[in-house]
Assembly symmetry: C2
Homo-oligomer: 315 residues x 2
Amino acid sequence: MLGAVDPVVADLVDTAAEFTSGGKMLRPTFCHAGWLLAGGDPHDDRIAKAGAAFEWLQGSALVHDDLMDGSDTRRGRPSVHRDYESRHRAVDAIGDAAQYGARVAILLGDLMLAWADEHLRRAAPDARTAALWDACKSEVVSGQYLDVLAQTSDHLDVDAARHVIRFKTSKYTVERPLHVGAALAGGDDELLTALTAVALPLGEAFQLRDDVLGVFGDPAATGKPSGDDLREGKRTVLVARTAQVHGDARVLALLGTADGVDELRELIVSSGALARVEDDIDRLVAQTRTAIDALGPRGRTILGPLVDAATRRVR
Amino acid sequence: MLGAVDPVVADLVDTAAEFTSGGKMLRPTFCHAGWLLAGGDPHDDRIAKAGAAFEWLQGSALVHDDLMDGSDTRRGRPSVHRDYESRHRAVDAIGDAAQYGARVAILLGDLMLAWADEHLRRAAPDARTAALWDACKSEVVSGQYLDVLAQTSDHLDVDAARHVIRFKTSKYTVERPLHVGAALAGGDDELLTALTAVALPLGEAFQLRDDVLGVFGDPAATGKPSGDDLREGKRTVLVARTAQVHGDARVLALLGTADGVDELRELIVSSGALARVEDDIDRLVAQTRTAIDALGPRGRTILGPLVDAATRRVR
C-alpha cells in the first residue's frame, strides 16, 4: 500500500517496524487470551491481525508520548523525534533540525494509528468488536489528556494518579485487548464483564510495578535510564504517596529536575511510599487472582502466567 | 462515549467541535457527490456519517499541521496549541505553557482521528469501502511527510511540489472522498476510475488556487494573515516557478522569513510565476470538465458546481 505512494516513505515503514520491535507485546497477549477464553481457534489468523492492530496502536502512542515528554530514548534506542533530528543534522539540511524531528514523529504516529485500524479491519470484526476497538482508542487518549492535565497542578494526589492509571493502563492495556479478543471470537457480555473484573486490578498492579521500575529499575532491563520517570516529572502514585509524608512543595521542587533524582529516590524509600506501593501491588494481584478464579480452570491456565509476567519484580 | 471517561475531557470535545466548524466542508461534499453518482439515496444518513468522518479526519490533520508548522491561527481563531498554551498561562499553571499546548494538540489530533474512524464505522461500510478509507488515511500522512522532506532541500522543484499536491490534496481532498461515497453506495470499479480522472486535475487546480490565495488572498476571506504561506516557508508550485526565473538561492533567502514576504510577493508577480500558475489552473479546470463530461449529464449537474467552488478566484 505505502510503496505505491513514494519510495521515500518506505523509510518510515522501516523506522516504524524497528520501533515497534522489542516490546513486551502485552496488548496482543491479552487480546489473544480473550480470544482463547471465548473459545476462539488458536490457529485462526484473525486474532493475529487484531493483535498486530494493538501493537501499531501502542507504537503510535509511544512515538507521540516520547515527543510530548521530550524523551531522548525508547527501549535503549533514540526516540523517533531525536532520531530524525539527528538525521537532519547529519546531512546539514535546510530548516530547524528539532522541528523536523517533531514533524516526522507526529506524522509517523498518525501513520501507525492508520495502520492499526487497517490491521483491525483485516481481522474482520463485527460491529460490536469494532465499537470496543474504537472505545479503546478514545480512552487511551483521554487518559493521556488527564495525565497531561494532572501535571499542571500544584497538588500531588493519589486518587488523581489512580484515575489516570484506570484509563491509560487498566482499560487500554488490559481490559480492551481482552474485550476485543473475546468479542472477535463471539464471547458474550457476561464474559466481557468477568474480564473487566480481572483487568482493572491487574492493570493497576502492572502500572504500579512499571512506576517502581521507572524509579529503581535496571536500565539494562527497562531500556530507559534509571530514574527517568522522576526526571520527566511523571505524577505517579509512588510520588503522590511520598508527598503525603513530605508535602507537595518539597516533592514538586525535586520532581522533573535532573539534580533532584537521587534525593527524591531516597524520600520515596524513607517515607515508606515504596513499601506502601508494593503492598498495593500485592493486594491488587490477590484481587486479580480472585477474579480469575471466577473464570474457572481455563481462566487460570490462560491468564495466570500473564499476571506474573506483568507484575513481578525484575530489578 | 467520552462523557464516561471524565467530565474534564468534555472540554476537549467542545474545542474539537468549535475547531472543525467554519470550514469549507470540501471532503464531505465530494463524498456526498460520489454517493449520488453511484445512485445512493440522498436522504440515507449513512452518507452523512461518512461525511462527518472526513470532517473529523481533516480536523485532526489541521490540529497536527498547525502544531508542526508553528501556526498561530486557523480560520481567524487561535490554533489549538496556541489556545491551550494561553489557557495554561492564564491560570499560571505548573510546567511549560508551550509544551502543554503542544501536548494537548497532539492528543486532540489523535482523538479526532479516533472519532473519524468511529463515524466511518457507523456508516456501515463494506470491506472495500473501509479499505478505501484506510488508503485515504495513509496517503494524506504520506503526502505530508513528502512535504516535510521537501522543505529540507536546498532546491525548489516544480515536480516535487506537484508530487506533494497529488497525495496531500488531489487524492486526499477529492479522489478518496469521491471513492468512499461512491463505494458506500455500491458504485463499481469503472465509476471509481472515472472519478479518479476528475479528481486528479481538480485537486491540483484546487491546491494551486489555494496557494495563490495563501500569498495574495484577503485575510477576511481566507481566515489567515496574508502571505502566511510565504512566512511559513511553504514549498508551493508558485514559489518553485519563481525560483526557475530568479534562482533557488534568492527565493530561499526570502522564503520562511517575516521580512521577505513583500519582496517575494513582487518576485512571484514579476517572474511571471503567478501568470503561469493561473494558466495551469485554467488548463487543469478544462481537463476536469472533460473528465466530468465522460460521466454524462448527472456528472455535470452534481460535480459542475463543485469545480467552480473549489477553483474560482476570490481575492
